[in-house]
Symmetry: C2
Subunit: 493 residues, 2 copies
């Protein structure tokens, strides 16, 4: 914990890794590409899960659980889908290990006699297995809609991994629904996109663009992919959630049909939508600073920490008693509060440590505070201090936490807006992309030729065709062809 | 839902499958040995998770998440451990699928070029990977204890599977702790055994024996395995949870050492403990009847259902209004309540359906009830009816639910006690085991020779050496050798 964090300006990637590891959110594991989510990171994910789970249930969804393994023939049934996932999947081929003698010593190897008839893929996503089950459960329009969510682990074989942002195994939720009409499915996909956007802004304090992906960027097997896109402090974009209108693609592949009111058999319409532990990385990169993590109060595992301060001659007992009382009163008021009673550490050391862990509000209680019947509160993001009378603690602390929550969203929005640029020429695009990065609002003809060449030359991709982007005829920044409105480009995670 | 459930007396195994599938708790999947947990089953598991998670946190544990994959060399480091799990594990050998032409058509196969340097085992349990990480985190006695829990999916390749009771993939929690002394580890293992026993009795309404496993039955790699054992209605035992004192076995294998206060390096002491979705099956088999599921109120996803009753000429509107008001009032009082407003189905059909789903309390509201300003409550387990005045609904319904909870535990305990038999001769053992089954309290010399021959001849195993079993010198039921006290034998799931 005492190690120095690399400043953001010096090396952004190292800053990120330093914060994630030193705040004990995650650690590298001996399994290539897989991380360990440590308690301080997992507690944040649990809080995110709890809020999202409530939002899913309020919109009518139920949780269920489907197998980890997908027979390879299932993946193959939807052509684009297998194309999208075949190159990065963990494949189970055997069911037993045996000991053999090799070079005079015993080693264990997969037992050839246990080779599976059909190899199994560890789920890279669960459309195939889930819609195969829906097909078993649905006969009539009365069985629709099916509104299901699954909390699960996912494996996609990644070559270059980064803690939380891109790992071979990650945790996520995947919603899967089936509907009688395309309109209903579209409404569902957009409803869940709104849920994600609300969650990002109201809980993560991360402002997001809502929009639709280009054909090139859409999910393998989807008709249309909606997404929310955020901007990190290094001005790179991060896709924070996706919601897919799958049309009837998977219903056709898995014979998911129903009898409509007229008695005719029709394929159902599906949606799927997901967010993952990647959002933990988004919180780190959207709010963190050179002192460590900065967590939004509505999701922080520890919202406030009471740090008593005394010196040799100070009235230790009275201060500790007052600090404990403050802790107890705040806990009773529903605040996730900790008291740091450790007597071998200086206040300054403790301040640094709790700042590193991102606790939104520090409550200092020293001899002078006690004399005045108050505490000193310090907001984590900007370190602004304010005295709060002990008598008004339960009332004022929740207000301060809500202030921090609001200020974090405002600051993130201001950063994003300051890093959103209108560019009108190819030179301007490249220069801006090189110099500062950020969202580049540019005209785009929509051709995959231009999309590909822009990506090849600048690494910037179309993040989304944002909703509400005004109609404005213009010329494609790459080829000069006609464009009906600007789209958001950016380099992305 | 309209299908008949096989009566228990006719075919116990089919009764179980009928209840689990017709109550839509789980379904067979196209993946061999893997099941789908449907919303009604998953909601029960979620409630169990919520209670257990609170109990774990109250005893000082934090949640974390470790990789799904375990390098095969890790499994091999603890000799008994690999011996115990090598024969039933899913092995990942490749990371990519490719399309090949075979017999004139395209098929996808694992790409030989993607063969892994070291094969990975899908975790059958996580001691190895977790203690390898602990070794990285622990230097000093000040870093101990580590008290961690993980909610995860587990894979053990099972040949003969049964929904919830034995499946290739299942969900569970696994606690893993590290301590500075053996005594602390023992206390932890016993503390968590107590947590499991309290959970089983107070929430699942399933009485359990607490005890220790024989050497033969202990966990592969443990010093000692503690367990809770329950008896199902077919008089077979079910191991409902285990807590292991791992000694220093894994600490030695993974070099998990710390510097003690004197500055000496010592191996840490570990415990692990787990319960799984198997407990869902235990609830089904401990309480279910020929009408379906019977759920304990403290865990039931739906605790009470309001069924309005009307006929052609009855005052439908008034009854529906009263039923909705009852539903709203109970929901505000914190009861998980549903109102069955469906107008195309008869009350009798609805009764059957909610009984099948195991809802602990039915609340009927018909014209005569309304006239008298009351409802008729019906307890699921014994169908006992009682009128409850509408004015006292919020007060009386929670009491009735607690009555059902208590009555279920009492009934289960009475069944278990009636099926616990003292046997003193080998003939008596075999006859009792054949005729009724149940717990057989018999003297046992402790030799693995007797233990094995008893199992071979009768399929009964030592379920546990129960705590509190009185000292009572006797002669082994098998060989006549000396025995200090009786142990519990039974055939088991």
């Amino acid at each position: 914990m005492a190690k120095r964090i690399t400043p953001r300006s010096e090396d952004w990637a190292r800053w990120y890794t330093d914060v994630v590891t030193q705040a004990k959110m995650a650690d590298y594991s001996p399994v290539k590409g897989c991380m360990v989510i440590r308690p301080h990171g997992y507690a944040l994910w649990e809080n995110m899960q709890r809020v999202l789970d409530r939002m899913f249930k309020e919109t009518g969804h139920e949780n269920a659980y489907f197998p980890l393994f997908i027979p390879k023939s299932f993946l193959a049934k939807e052509a684009e889908h297998v194309e999208g996932f075949a190159k990065e999947c963990a494949i189970v081929t055997h069911s037993r290990l045996k000991t053999v003698q090799a070079d005079g010593r015993a080693t264990i190897v997969p037992d050839p006699e246990s080779a599976l008839e059909e190899e199994l893929v560890v789920r890279p996503t669960s459309e195939t297995i889930i819609y195969a089950m829906f097909a078993k459960w649905v006969q009539s329009y009365r069985d629709l809609p099916i509104l299901i969510n699954q909390w699960a682990n996912i494996v996609r074989w990644e070559m270059r991994t980064r803690l939380f942002l891109r790992t071979t195994e990650f945790l996520w939720q995947e919603g899967h629904t089936a509907h009688a009409t395309h309109q209903e499915a579209e409404e569902e996909a957009l409803r869940m996109l709104d849920v994600y956007a609300s969650f990002a802004e109201e809980y993560m304090a991360v402002p997001v663009l809502k929009g639709v992906k280009t054909e090139k960027e859409k999910f393998a097997g989807a008709l249309r992919t909606y997404c929310i896109e955020a901007l990190m402090q290094d001005n790179k974009a991060l896709q924070a959630g996706t919601s897919h209108d799958l049309g009837q693609n998977f219903a056709r592949a898995f014979d998911l049909r129903f009898q409509d009111e007229a008695g005719d058999w029709t394929f159902a319409w599906n949606t799927s939508w997901g967010v993952s532990t990647r959002l933990v990385g988004a919180i780190v990169m959207a709010h963190g600073d050179d002192n460590g993590l900065v967590l939004p109060p509505r999701l922080a595992p520890i919202q406030a920490v009471v740090v008593p301060i005394w010196k040799g001659t100070d009235p230790v007992d009275r201060i500790l008693a007052a600090a404990r009382e403050a802790r107890d009163r705040l806990a009773r008021a529903g605040i996730a509060v900790r008291l740091d009673e450790r007597d071998s550490l200086s206040p300054g050391f403790k301040f640094n440590e709790w700042e590193m862990l991102g606790v939104p509000l520090r409550i200092e209680l020293g001899p002078r505070d006690l004399e005045q019947g108050s505490v000193t509160t310090v907001k984590r993001p900007n370190r602004s201090k304010a005295p709060v009378p002990l008598s008004g603690l339960e009332e004022r602390v929740p207000q301060l936490l809500e202030e921090v929550q609001r200020e974090m969203l405002e600051a993130a929005r201001a950063r994003r807006d300051a890093a959103t640029f209108t560019v009108d020429s190819w030179d301007g695009f490249r220069e801006r992309n090189e110099s500062t990065g950020g969202f580049l609002l540019a005209h785009f003809c929509g051709s995959s030729e231009c999309e590909n060449s822009i990506q090849e030359e600048t690494k910037a991709t179309v993040r989304c065709l944002a909703f509400g982007q005004p109609e404005e005829a213009g010329r494609c920044v790459r080829c000069g062809g006609p464009s009906p409105r600007r789209v958001h480009f950016a380099k992305a995670y």
